[in-house]
Symmetry: C2
Subunit: 468 residues, 2 copies
C-alpha cells in the first residue's frame, strides 16, 4: 500500500463485511474432496467461486474440469507490460471428523468474538476471498488494478492435489505469470507477521497387516494365535527410539543438516512454545536435541495419522481380528524424497514383521519440500507491504506443513513463489472448530492491495532476481 492512500485503504476496508458474508455462504458448501459423496458439493463450490470472482471484478472466470474435482481459474488482465501475479489457493476442505467434537455444525459458520468458525474458514476459502475482495476494493477506489492478476483455486489440495500438475501442464499459457503468491499458510501470532520461505514435503502411506483369514473368537483362539493388533502396535512402537528418533535405517540419510549459524537464525525467530501448545492442550514431544520450532520445520517426522482394527463399537466383542491398519506419514525436509523414504520405511516394516504376517504398505500420496530464497525481490516487496500494514517487519519462517502444488508452480511454471497467508497456529485447521481471525483477513486484504502497488512500481524487470 502506498503510504497515505486513504482512499484505497477505506475502499478495501469497506469490503470487510462483504468478505465475512461471502465467506459464510461459501463455507456452507461442504466441499470435502476426500469424500466421493461430496463430489457434487465440490462442484457447487467451484461454481460459487467462479461467480464470486466475476462479481469482484475479475473479467474472466472459468471452472476447469479435471479427472477429479474441478479447479477455478479467474483473471483480470490490464496491460501486458505490467507484472502478472498468479494467486494460488484451494476451494476444497478437510473432512470434519470427529464431528462430535465440533461446537457447531461444521458447515453452518458461526461468527463469534471476531472470529468466523467453520470448516474451510481459514483453510483455505478465507484466503481466496481475501484476495478477491481486495480486488473489489481496489477497483472501487481506482477503477483498475495496478497489475495483471490471475487466480487458480484447485479442488483437490486436501486430497493430495492429484491432478494439479496435469492441470498446470494443460493450461501453461493461461497460467503464465511473473510471480506466484500462495495464500495457504500462516503467521506465528496476530502481532507477529511472517512470510513463509520453507515447506516440508510429505509422504503418506497406508499400512495393513494380516495374521489370519478370518476374525477369531478370543476365547477359542486367544493365547494361541498371533493378534494383528499386537503385531501392528509393536511395529509402530518400534518406529521411534526413546530419544524420539526414527529407527528406520536410512531415514535421515538425505537430511541436509543446518549449519550452526542457520540454527541460530531460526532460533532467533520469536516463538512462544507454551503459547503454541497451550491453546490445543497438547503434550510436547519429539526428537531430543532439537527445539520445538526445529522439530516442526527443519526435522523430518514419521507420524501415525490413523489406526484401526477389531471391534470399535459399543460394548464388548470378544474377537481377535484378522487384520489391522494404520495410516502413516512423513514430513520431508531437504533433501529427502518420497521414493527414498518410502523404500526405507517399507523395507523396515517388512523386516520387523513376524513370520506369517502379511504386510501391505503403499504410498497414498506425496509432495516435495520447498525452499524459497529470501533475497528474491518478490519476497522483499511482499515483506514491505506486510510491514506497512502490521507495523512490524515480518519474520521469515519455515512451515511444517506441505503444499504440493507450490512445488508444481515452481517446477512446472518456473515461478518464484511468495508464501503469504494470515492463518494462526490456533486456527485448528484440519481439526474440529476450525476458525479464522477476521482481523487477520482484513489486514491481509490491505497487505495484498499494497503488494500489488509495490509489484507494479518495481515492474517486470524489477521483480526478477538479480544475477549473482
Amino acid at each position: 500500500m502506498t503510504g497515505g492512500d486513504g482512499l484505497l485503504r477505506d475502499a478495501v476496508a469497506a469490503r470487510e463485511r462483504p468478505l465475512v458474508e461471502g465467506l459464510s455462504r461459501w463455507v456452507g458448501i461442504p466441499s470435502v474432496s476426500t469424500d466421493p459423496e461430496r463430489a457434487g458439493d465440490v462442484a457447487a463450490s467451484a461454481a460459487f467461486l467462479r461467480d464470486y470472482a466475476l462479481a469482484c471484478g475479475m473479467t474472466r472466470a472459468e471452472v476447469w474440469e479435471t479427472s477429479g474435482h474441478p479447479a477455478v481459474f479467474a483473471e483480470r488482465l490490464v496491460d501486458p507490460r505490467l507484472p502478472t501475479v498468479l494467486v494460488y489457493g484451494h476451494h476444497d476442505v478437510q473432512p470434519v471428523d470427529p464431528e462430535a467434537e465440533w461446537d457447531l455444525a461444521p458447515f453452518v459458520p458461526l461468527e463469534r468474538d471476531g472470529q468466523l468458525l467453520g470448516r474451510g474458514t481459514a483453510d483455505d476459502k478465507g484466503h481466496i476471498l481475501m484476495h478477491l475482495e481486495a480486488v473489489r476494493g481496489i477497483l472501487d477506489a481506482r477503477g483498475q488494478l495496478p497489475i495483471n492478476l490471475k487466480l487458480i483455486a484447485e479442488g483437490e489440495e486436501e486430497d493430495g492435489s492429484e491432478h494439479f500438475e496435469e492441470l498446470v501442464r494443460a493450461h501453461r499459457a493461461d497460467l503464465a505469470a511473473d510471480v506466484a503468491v500462495v495464500s495457504d499458510t500462516g503467521m506465528l501470532a496476530e502481532d507477529l507477521p511472517a512470510l513463509t520461505v520453507g515447506l516440508r514435503g510429505l509422504a503418506y502411506w497406508e499400512l495393513g497387516v494380516q495374521t489370519a483369514e478370518t476374525d477369531l473368537h478370543s476365547g477359542v483362539y486367544g493365547g494361541a494365535v498371533m493378534n494383528p493388533l499386537a503385531v501392528l502396535s509393536e511395529m509402530l512402537a518400534g518406529l521411534h527410539d526413546r530419544h524420539g528418533r526414527v529407527t528406520v535405517r536410512g531415514f535421515y540419510d538425505a537430511v541436509r543438516e543446518l549449519s550452526a549459524e542457520e540454527r541460530r537464525q531460526l532460533g532467533a525467530v520469536p516463538f512462544d512454545e507454551a503459547g503454541f501448545l497451550a491453546p490445543v492442550g497438547a503434550a510436547a514431544g519429539g526428537e531430543e536435541g532439537f527445539s520445538t520450532m526445529e522439530r516442526r520445520t527443519i526435522r523430518p517426522t514419521l507420524e501415525i495419522c490413523g489406526i484401526w482394527g477389531g471391534y470399535q463399537g459399543l460394548g464388548a466383542k470378544t474377537v481377535i481380528p484378522a487384520r489391522a491398519w494404520a495410516k502413516l506419514s512423513s514430513r520431508l525436509v531437504p533433501d529427502q524424497t518420497a521414493p527414498q523414504v518410502t523404500e526405507a520405511v517399507g523395507t523396515h516394516l517388512r523386516s520387523v514383521a513376524p513370520p506369517g504376517v502379511r504386510v501391505d504398505f503403499r504410498l497414498i500420496h506425496d509432495g516435495p519440500f520447498v525452499l524459497t530464497p529470501t533475497d528474491h525481490p518478490a519476497v522483499r516487496l511482499a515483506a514491505e507491504a506486510v510491514a506497512a500494514v502490521w507495523g512490524r517487519e515480518p519474520v521469515y519462517i519455515r512451515e511444517g506443513g506441505s503444499i504440493p502444488p507450490v512445488a508444481t508452480l515452481a517446477g512446472e511454471l518456473g515461478l518464484p513463489c511468495v508464501l503469504f497467508g494470515v492463518g494462526l497456529p490456533e486456527d485448528r485447521i484440519h481439526a474440529p472448530n476450525e476458525r479464522v481471525v477476521l482481523a487477520q483477513l482484513f489486514r491481509g486484504m490491505q497487505a495484498v492491495a499494497g503488494m500489488w502497488d509495490l509489484y507494479a512500481a518495481a515492474g517486470v524487470e524489477g521483480l526478477s532476481p538479480r544475477p549473482d
Copy 2:
C-alpha cells in the same frame, strides 16, 4: 438313549428337518444384543422362542423382561419325584462386523454341504432348538418326558449377561433343578466327542489415551507434540515380552499352576494343532513353554480386541489426533479374579504412560472361570449318553472361552453344570460366515434324549455327588 430304542431314535430323527427349518427362520431375526437399534429384534427373537417352545411340547413358556434384553423361560414338569434338569442357552447373537467378509447376508441363512450358515446358527440358537426338537421327538415317541425339564435362554450373553444374575435371583423358585445342562460349547472334531469341564473367565476393558484437547494438523504440529497413536502403540506393544509372556506386574500371581500329571493328561487329549489353525489361516502365536492347547485353556491371556483413533477413511488426512482407544481383554484361569487383574493391568498402563498423557482405563464386563468335577454323576451319565451316539467315549476338555452365566447358575442356584455342546472349532462363532454342522445338531438331539433317560434311571439321589 436306552439301547435299542429304535422308536425313540426314529422319532427324534424325524425332527431333523423341522430343526433346520425352525433354525433358519429364527436366524432371520437379527437379535444382536450389543446394538441398541436391534432391541426390537432381540424382543422378537424372545417371542419366537416362547412360541417355539410351546409348539415343541413345553407346557409353560414365558418372556421374562429384564432391565436390558428379555430372556425366555419354558418348562414341562412331569412329576416332582423325577430329576429336574435346567437347560441354559442364549437367544442373542454377536454383531456381524466386518459384514463385507460374509459370503452371505448374515441373517439370511444358507444351507450348504450339510451346514447351515448364518449369525447365531451355532452360537447359540442351534443348540436351543436341538433341545426343543429333542423334546418334540421324545413326546412323539412316548407321549411324555422321563424327567422334568426347564429351559432358560437369556438375551444378553453376547453383551456380558449383565442382568442374568438379577434374573436368576428374582426367579429362584422357577429355576430350581437338580442339574444344569449348558449347551453353548463345542467339541474338538466331528468324530471326537467332548464334554467341557473348564471355562476361562473374562475381564474386558476399554482403554483411552489423550494427548491434546483437539486434533492437530500434522504439518503444523508434527514432530513437536506427542502422538496418542504412538503412545497407545507403545503401551500395547509393551504388554508382552518377546517370549509372549504378559509383562504386567502381578498378572500371573494368582494362576494355579498345573501339576506335571495334570499337564500330561491335558496333553493326551487328541488335538490337531495344524487342523486347528489351518481352516482360519491363522499364524500361531502365544506364550513360550506351553502347547497350543495349554495356551488356549489353562493359561491366561491379555489380548487387544480392537483399536482405533485418527483418520480411518478414504484418502489421506494429515492429522495428529487428540485421542486413541483400544479394547483389551483377559481370559482368566484359576484362581485369577477380574478385580485383581483389572487392578494390575490398570496400574501397569498408568505407570507406563508418558507424563502429560491422560489414561482412561475401565472394566466393561467380566465373568469368573469355571471348573466342573469330572466325577460328578451328572457328568459321567452325560458322557455315557454322548458315547452311545458318537460311538466313542468323550474326552474332558477345558474351553478357552467364558460363559459368565454358568458361574451364576453354579453360584446362585448351587447347581452342578454339565457343559454339553456340539459346536466345532471351525464354526467361526463371533466371526464372518458362522455356521453349524447339521450332523452335529442331529447327533446332539439323540444324545440329550439318551441323557434324560439315564438321568431318570439314576433318580434324584443318584444324580447327587457321592459323599467323600
